[in-house]
């Protein structure tokens, strides 16, 4: 689960990280009130779940109260990469020239089977850019997941990264960030820029925070922060069924299968067949007819989908259950697009018999995944041409 900047800052604040003061506002008038209360220049920052807010004009320095109001009018309602901004964070502005900007972050790193702490004196820019241009400027350090980052390790990293300022305070902030990452099941946490003022005191000006979805059961207090605006409506519906579903752009073939690997491969096969997958949908292992029915229903709702490719390799999943689910969708009139499927393995013969009985041109079975994908691709591309 991705958090907004203000939410990430709130979490870090709970762990004692020195975070720049700020308040959330939903209207220009609220922004005016906050700017007046702060009595100093502020920054008005769009709160949306996409990167590149600054470049899109979603982050604006506001030297006066009127300017803050004016900037809020510009930002609220603005579209950033397809998402409408409906709230902003108003923070006290900092005189960047009076200090320096650094980067610290922690990310789940499978290569070290733990978190890797990253620190760089090149702050205020995307760390990916630093990694691409000057990777030597990023110091990396494996964090022990049981003990967390210890102060001496943090000091060592800060020194290696060339951080200037109050070494103990900077290390303390890194230790607190590590505590937040471990206790709040972060996948990623970044403080960027990490501002060091003229006195050498660190201050978190911006953050990124993403939490492991598998751990949300122990962070129920954060569930109300979940926002579905950035998600496709079909993704929200899929979540209700417990499906692993991802809506893909510019597709025309709906794809569903049993198992993440087989679905990933199905996307590849559809691409090779000259069409584009419209979604990723894993119905999981051992799916019963009802689950398949729900999956077909969901994919059929997608207006991008012109044909459906079902790829099942039956191990725990029974092919006849898959057939029953598809047939039910057909009988209820939900299924109006051609379904091209390959179901191999357990109860394959029974599945074939069920489909032969129905004998609908909308449902065809193929002996391998390529033929099924090619048929679906052809149907989808033809349907597109007819328009």
């Amino acid at each position: 689960m991705k958090l907004h900047e203000y939410q990430g800052k709130e979490l870090l604040r709970q762990f004692g990280v020195n975070v720049q003061d700020g308040k959330v506002a939903y209207t220009p008038d609220e922004v005016r009130t906050i700017a007046r209360e702060y009595g100093q220049p502020v920054v008005v920052k769009a709160q949306v779940h996409v990167g590149g807010r600054g470049k899109a004009g979603g982050v604006r320095f506001s030297p006066t109260i009127d300017k803050a109001h004016e900037n809020a009018e510009k930002i609220l309602g603005m579209d950033i990469k397809g998402l409408t901004v409906n709230k902003v964070l108003v923070t006290k502005a900092v005189d960047i020239d009076a200090g320096v900007e650094y980067y610290v972050g922690m990310i789940v790193d499978r290569n070290v089977q733990s978190f890797t702490l990253m620190a760089s004196a090149e702050g205020g820019v995307e760390i990916e850019e630093v990694a691409a241009a000057t990777p030597e400027k990023i110091i990396r350090h494996r964090v022990d997941p049981v003990t967390g980052l210890r102060p001496y390790e943090a000091r060592e990293v800060a020194i290696k990264a060339g951080f200037k300022g109050n070494l103990n305070k900077i290390a303390d902030m890194m230790v607190k960030m590590s505590k937040a990452a471990l206790e709040r099941d972060a996948v990623l946490v970044e403080i960027n820029p990490l501002f060091i003022d003229a006195d050498g005191t660190p201050l978190a000006l911006d953050t990124k925070f993403e939490i492991d979805d598998n751990a949300m059961y122990r962070h129920k207090d954060l569930l109300s922060w979940r926002e579905t605006e950035a998600e496709h409506p079909l993704e929200i519906e899929a979540a209700k069924y417990g499906f692993a579903y991802v809506k893909l752009d510019d597709g025309n073939v709906g794809v569903l299968g049993n198992g993440a690997g087989i679905v990933m491969t199905s996307l590849d096969v559809v691409n090779r067949a000259g069409a584009k997958p419209a979604n990723f949908l894993d119905i999981g292992g051992g799916a019963k007819a009802e689950i398949v029915y729900n999956a077909v229903k969901l994919v059929s709702k997608d207006s991008d989908v012109k044909a459906i490719f079902i790829n099942i390799f039956g191990g725990i999943t029974r092919a006849d259950e898959v057939a029953k689910g598809v047939i039910q969708a057909l009988n209820e009139g939900i299924l109006t697009k051609p379904v091209r499927m390959r179901i191999a393995g357990t109860a394959e013969t029974e599945a074939k018999a069920l489909l032969a009985e129905v004998n609908s041109p909308l449902i065809q079975m193929y002996p391998d995944m390529f033929q099924a994908a090619e048929a679906a691709a052809q149907d989808a591309n033809n349907a597109g041409e007819k328009k």
């Binding site: 993440a260 990933m264 491969t265 090779r272 191990g315």
Partner: protein
């Protein structure tokens, strides 16, 4: 021969009395696996289909020879169950559970690695964790500790198979079977970001196995395990390896079902994996059936 497990491997099932545990215990026994006992805390003293149930792994181990444990425990208790088996001295622990929090896995994997080092330094068998979010492992015709369909692995072949995906493992196993090649041992390492055993950990076992002639590695987008495998192959392996990478058309930044299948920035891209395998002279199949063609080709060399 085979790697890791064979017909003499004694297995306990942790979570045997749950729905998944019960179903798969049955299937494993039908395959011929020597399941000796089950563990379900609170149900010690009961029996399940003729097998004794114990309250703890230690109790099961005190009463039976135990070479491996397979864990069917819900996500919240899964890492704890791994540590219970590891501390009880079970040398091979297989975690099937999907959806375990990554931080739990980090802690468990680190502790298992430490116990492994301790055990090995004292002349013990070590401790190995396979998974989580994996289908387990199977030595064809001998022993299954996992959830894969039995029929594909009835007869022994001479190809080793390692995979991050469950269903693709079955698919590849089936294709190898139909081609008359068959599998020696199949290891599903799991689709999570932090797992106990990686490609590079399994490859040396196959390299040393006299009954394995070639190895198939089924990778996917996300992480750099395939790159590490390629590096190992390049520097250490004499046996031929064939690779496959799933999710090559997936967009960056989107998680493809598996928690670990996500391209983050420039890490985990198919391009990086293809380049690494190319550098190691490992042919990469574009489709599943092409795996078979490539295996035949490398065997004829």
């Amino acid at each position: 021969m085979s790697i890791l497990v064979n017909k003499d491997t004694h297995v306990i099932v942790v979570g045997m009395t749950g729905r998944e545990g019960a179903n798969h215990t049955k299937a494993m026994r039908e395959f011929g696996t020597q399941v000796v006992a089950g563990v379900t805390p609170g149900k010690g003293g009961q029996t399940h289909e003729g097998l004794p149930i114990y309250n703890s792994v230690a109790e099961a181990k005190a009463n039976h020879p135990v070479d491996a444990s397979i864990i069917f425990v819900p996500p919240a208790g899964a890492a704890d169950a791994v540590l219970e088996s590891a501390h009880a001295g079970v040398p091979l622990v297989i975690l099937i559970t999907e959806g375990v929090p990554t931080v739990d896995m980090m802690k468990a994997v680190q502790e298992v690695n430490r116990l492994n080092q301790e055990s090995l330094s004292q002349g013990g068998k070590g401790v190995r964790l396979i998974g989580g979010n994996c289908p387990g492992l199977i030595s064809s015709g001998e022993c299954k500790i996992g959830i894969m369909p039995n029929s594909i692995y009835a007869e022994k072949g001479r190809i080793g198979l390692i995979s991050r995906s469950g269903t693709l493992t079955y698919e590849a196993g089936k294709l190898l079977q139909l081609a008359g090649l068959g599998t020696s041992t199949t290891v599903g390492i799991g689709g999570d970001p932090v797992i106990g055993t990686t490609f590079a950990d399994v490859l040396p076992l196959f390299e040393a196995d006299p009954d394995t002639d070639a190895i198939v590695v089924i990778g996917e987008i996300g992480g750099a395990d395939e790159e590490a495998a390629a590096e190992y192959i390049k520097n250490n392996m004499k046996k031929p390896v064939v690779a496959f990478i799933s999710g090559r058309s997936a967009p960056a930044g989107k998680r493809m079902g598996h928690a670990g299948a996500i391209i983050m920035g420039n890490i985990g891209t198919p391009e990086s994996k293809l380049a690494a395998f190319k550098d190691a002279n490992v042919p990469v199949a574009d489709t599943m059936p092409e795996i078979i063609e490539l295996v035949k080709k490398v065997l004829n060399k």
